[in-house]
């Protein structure tokens, strides 16, 4: 059997606002638009994904929070409605998702063999988190590829961002070995914002873009520091400063997604493709991708 590979890594933030603004038929809420810089960036990345041959999407989400190890979706179908607990006015999405259970089981086994507490989630009533749905919808609105969702074990809460970095790295390396052995071509998705301080009030019209800006300038400066390192292909340094970045900006990287993905991809030393950066209710959101194949790697923005 041919060996598997990671064909693309995507940093794909999941504010439900971007799905809301798209007005897909699956979502009950209606918007007049908004957050175009992010949405258009997503559209372009989705077009690139259409040009890539791959079998499955593996997504690491901060909104399936687990404290007892790392959990993997373990049933072939999930069909239900996801309502965002924070923004129910924006996101009430009817989903019908296929899961690559074989790949999930291999990753769970490799993680477990690496000493990481791991388990499969096989309760059919389990509701898929809105982070998975938002990122996957924006990257692949046709939903024509199976997904695997990996929960985020909250090591940053229980220990520290440094421990999170170590644990997420170990998980990423285990997942990479599993993908290699599976023979599958896989797109990795790290679903989260960068800086993550929210406004605690909302405009009467949520998509009123005159109200949208980063929470404060220090968040912006930190976000730009990371973008600059990504452009230069210095992902090892990004992960090295991740604990400080996470603490300084209350970043959603605390869940470990970016560290997991970079470890799985061997800490790329080539430039990231930057697709867009925009604030959503004060948080800093970057869409970026890492294409291991130099011949298809692009300078997007």
């Amino acid at each position: 059997m041919a060996k598997g590979e990671i064909v693309l890594g995507c940093l794909a933030p999941h504010p439900p606002h971007v799905v809301y603004a798209e007005n897909p038929e699956q979502n009950e809420a209606f918007a007049e638009g908004g957050w175009e810089t992010l949405r258009w960036g997503y559209h372009r990345l989705a077009r690139k994904l259409k040009s890539i041959e791959y079998d499955s999407i593996v997504i690491f989400t901060p909104h399936w929070q687990t404290y007892i190890g790392t959990h993997f979706l373990g049933l072939p179908k999930f069909k239900s409605k996801s309502v965002d607990p924070v923004f129910p006015n924006l996101f009430r999405y009817n989903y019908d998702i296929s899961v690559d259970v074989d790949l999930a089981e291999v990753m769970c086994k490799y993680a477990s063999d690496s000493g990481i507490v791991s388990m499969m989630m096989r309760n059919p009533d389990f509701r898929i988190d809105y982070g998975t749905i938002t990122s996957c919808h924006m990257l692949n609105p046709d939903w024509d590829k199976p997904v695997v969702t990996i929960s985020s074990n909250r090591n940053a809460h229980y220990y520290s961002p440094e421990v999170m970095n170590e644990q997420a790295s170990a998980l990423g390396e285990a997942c990479a070995r599993a993908i290699y052995e599976s023979g599958k071509k896989v797109v990795l998705v790290s679903s989260h914002s960068l800086s993550h301080r929210h406004f605690v009030t909302e405009a009467p019209l949520p998509e009123d873009m005159s109200r949208e800006h980063i929470y404060n300038h220090s968040q912006y400066v930190w976000d730009m520091k990371l973008v600059d390192l990504m452009r230069r292909g210095e992902m090892r340094e990004v992960i090295d400063i991740m604990p400080e970045f996470t603490e300084q900006t209350i970043a959603e990287t605390e869940a470990g997604g970016l560290t997991w993905m970079m470890a799985a991809m061997g800490y790329p030393d080539y430039p990231a493709e930057i697709y867009g950066y925009q604030s959503v209710i004060g948080t800093g959101n970057l869409i970026a991708a890492w294409d291991p194949l130099e011949s298809t790697r692009e300078l997007v923005l």
Binding site: K81, P85, F87, M119, H198
Partner: protein, 307 residues
């Protein structure tokens, strides 16, 4: 206007074991028995309303109040999904939710009601309402715990709930859903061997329970920051449930306290305790921090260029 009438308060844990697997350990069974006793007391109390503050319902946009008249779903816990599903259908007091939300706004808070089919009611609220009010004999109201809110905002939210109770002249049982120490084991355990994660957590939990037994709720409220630093995993900015509970119940130490059960739940501290207003009890209070009536928002010092 009449004084708000809080018949009694219940402090109970959010974990699903007492609901889904009470037979798995002696401790889970004791917690379940305590929930069952509380259910009986609520039914006999003549309450018009069960008012729930849940630490497992985090909000960001101000304070959210459940206002769907009959929320219905099958809930599954993120960690303990293997214990089974939790189908629920609750009866909410929509009029009270509206009054509570308006009262919160009148005190300077950002508040809104949520009424959406399929809204994900949190594990803690589901466990509490299924065990304390299984037949929906009494309508309920659930309010979220804003992840950024600190003391002033949380106390004002409690006072807003009290305002709403006064305005509608309703008799309420107040339910706070929260662990004591909240550090769980990070690996799977045999429930029969469950224990509090550390001796330090256990000692602090028992000290908190002494305060409950003495009816010293306001003193517990004053200790919240210390409790947060000592035995709470730093998921949010502060340990808030005692602030809210004290504010809604009148900010004093005159309660009859009863600790009905204290057991470990995968390492965390789970207690079912009740506080009933009385004219006796401890009485003294140690007000270390200012009381606050109206929320004026963040001080916003960064944007004012203050040094």
């Amino acid at each position: 206007m009449e004084e708000a009438e809080v018949l009694f308060g219940i402090y109970c844990p959010p974990h699903p074991q007492p609901l889904l697997s009470p037979e798995a350990s002696e401790g889970y069974g004791k917690l379940r028995s305590a929930f069952d006793e509380c259910k009986n007391r609520i039914e006999e109390s003549g309450a018009d309303l069960i008012l729930v503050y849940s630490t497992t319902w985090p909000s960001i946009i101000g304070h959210q109040i459940q206002a769907h008249p009959e929320p219905e779903w099958v809930h599954v816990d993120d960690d303990f999904h293997f214990l089974g599903s939790m189908p629920y259908k609750f009866r909410m007091d929509v009029d009270f939710a509206e009054e509570f939300s308006e009262s919160a706004k009148a005190r300077g808070l950002h508040s809104r009601m949520v009424s959406y089919d399929g809204f994900p009611i949190d594990t803690g609220s589901v466990v509490a309402l299924k065990l304390l009010n299984p037949e929906n004999k009494i309508p309920a109201c659930i309010v979220s715990s804003n992840m950024y809110a600190n003391r002033a905002e949380t106390i004002v939210l409690g006072k807003a709930a009290r305002d709403a109770l006064k305005t509608q002249n309703k008799k309420a049982v107040v339910v706070v859903v929260s662990s004591l120490s909240n550090r769980m084991f990070t690996e799977h355990i045999d429930p029969a061997e469950d224990r509090i994660h550390s001796s330090k957590d256990d000692e602090w939990n028992r000290k908190i329970l002494e305060f409950f037994e003495d009816g010293r709720l306001e003193d517990l409220s004053q200790l919240s920051r210390e409790i947060h630093g000592q035995i709470r995993v730093q998921k949010v900015v502060a340990y808030k449930p005692a602030w809210w509970m004290a504010a809604v119940m009148g900010q004093h130490n005159n309660y009859e306290g009863e600790v009905m059960a204290y057991e470990s739940l995968h390492g965390s501290g789970g207690a079912v305790a009740t506080l009933t207003p009385s004219s006796g009890s401890f009485g003294d209070k140690e007000f270390d921090e200012d009381d606050v009536e109206f929320y004026h928002g963040d001080r916003d010092v960064l944007n004012k260029g203050m040094v």
